[in-house]
């Protein structure tokens, strides 16, 4: 299992700078927003937390379809399915590798990008907390979507269509947590909900993903 994780990470790094790209996309979304909505600081500050969360979500989304597609095409997935590791573990490790290459760099770099959008100072801490709690759920749900669409050529858009509605609760509670935190309101509820959703997702969704992969391979 460690071997699978390290292989996936190595592949991500070799294939043209894996880690960096998620970040770069995030950066670009964050820079394009002011072009789209105009440069007024107060408008930006108001929408900053939401845009940062959205950017993270889209950066995540964009790398999803490669989670299984490459392994499926070159036959590795067949071989993994016959290997002595349960498919649930394979799926979980894939999600973990995806999080390490996309989610984690975003968490680390988010404060930098927040500066670009004039995020109010007290919100930084909450932005970090919410991303750290929320992004694992994004990766796991994304893995589920990828498992459903593995084997479909041109699955990219379909994948987004399936996955984005699943992201709604995480997004709402994540952005809400930042906003409340920034305004000094009570944060227990969104914090608990975000943590709860992530925990439940990480614990349960891999079973659904593994089932989907098995169905798709046969």
């Amino acid at each position: 299992m460690r071997a699978l994780l390290s292989r996936d990470l190595r592949l991500a790094i070799r294939a043209g700078g894996g880690f960096g790209l998620g970040l770069a996309f995030f950066l670009i979304v964050v820079t394009l927003v002011p072009f789209g909505v105009g440069p007024q600081g107060e408008v930006l500050a108001r929408i900053a937390s939401g845009i940062l969360w959205l950017g993270a979500l889209l950066a995540c989304l964009l790398s999803l379809d490669r989670i299984f597609a490459l392994d499926f095409e070159d036959g590795s997935l067949d071989l993994l399915a016959t290997a002595p590791i349960p498919m649930e573990a394979v799926v979980t490790i894939k999600a973990l590798a995806h999080w390490i290459t996309t989610g984690l760099p975003l968490v680390l770099a988010a404060p930098l990008f927040a500066v670009l959008l004039h995020l109010p100072a007290p919100a930084y801490l909450w932005l970090e907390i919410s991303l750290l709690l929320g992004t694992p759920a994004l990766s796991v749900l994304g893995t589920f979507g990828a498992a459903l669409t593995v084997g479909l050529k041109r699955g990219g858009l379909l994948l987004s269509l399936l996955v984005l509605p699943l992201y709604v609760p995480t997004l709402i509670f994540g952005a809400e947590l930042v906003r409340r935190g920034a305004e000094g309101l009570a944060t227990q509820v969104p914090l608990a909900m975000l943590a709860g959703i992530t925990a439940a997702t990480v614990a349960l969704v891999p079973f659904a993903s593994a089932a989907a992969i098995r169905v798709n391979l046969r």
Binding site: G155, L158, L162, L166, M193, V215
Partner: protein, 242 residues
């Protein structure tokens, strides 16, 4: 005689064929009077003005938009657990109906919002969760379309329906938490004190029943079509073997 017998496609075709005329009759006898009553013979309400007439299409559509998803969930579970083809095909057949119902609720709601709230669209939790429900319908249908092998498609959409239902409910709570809404509360409760006056209530109930029968009619028709399409696929394959 157990209900599972109808999981047999042939038995289902026979029974549904016999049932259809009656269901069509019931639809005509409830939906038409319900709608005519609502449209022509109801008074103007104090709170809503004449726009109250929108309720006779808005509320039934909204009600069924939700309940059809629940029905699909049940059908998907039956397929995943007992592997009865008819239930998988019924779930597939129901999805477009649910999608149209959701669309009707959204559009009539939006049109109604203009005079009542002064805006076409408001990010009210109920409206929001309907929009998300609409997306779930779209995704579900797109996945069915995208997969060629019927049983694979049934399995995968079944799993999606299951996971999607959980997240649809979660989204609902998230949306309520996120924005306190403008939308009407439940006025259709059985508690006499709560619900609106009988003049509105009676045609509304009739309309809802009418929509219900319409749903059953369409569901039967579409399921029969899906069964036939599935049968064609099976026959085509068989032809290849020869």
């Amino acid at each position: 005689m157990s209900i599972w017998e109808y999981a047999n496609p042939v038995k289902f075709m026979q029974t549904s064929g016999r049932l259809l005329p009656w269901v069509v009759g019931a639809t005509v006898l409830t939906l038409v009077p319900g709608l005519v009553w609502g449209f022509f013979f109801t008074p103007v309400a104090a709170e809503f003005g004449a726009t109250v007439k929108v309720i006779y299409v808005h509320v039934p559509a909204a009600t069924f938009a939700i309940n059809i998803w629940v029905m699909m969930l049940v059908a998907s579970l039956i397929w995943l657990i007992r592997r009865h083809h008819v239930s998988a095909l019924a779930a597939r057949a129901a999805a477009p109906i649910g999608m149209v119902m959701t669309l009707i609720a959204l559009v009539t709601g939006a049109l109604w919002g203009q005079p009542m709230w002064g805006t076409w669209w408001e990010w009210d939790p109920r409206l929001t969760s309907f929009l998300i429900l609409f997306l779930f319908y779209l995704g579900y249908m797109a996945l069915w379309e995208a997969i060629d092998t019927p049983d694979t498609a049934a399995d995968l959409t079944g799993v999606l329906c299951l996971v999607g239902s959980v997240f649809a409910v979660l989204s609902r709570y998230a949306a309520i938490f996120w924005n306190q809404g403008l939308h009407q509360g439940a006025t259709l409760s059985l508690d006499k004190e709560e619900h609106i006056a009988d003049v509105y209530w009676q045609p509304l109930v009739l309309s809802i029943v009418g929509f219900g029968f319409l749903f059953v009619t369409l569901l039967l028709l579409r399921t029969r079509t899906e069964i036939r399409a599935r049968r064609i696929k099976a026959l085509e394959q068989r032809e290849r073997m020869a």
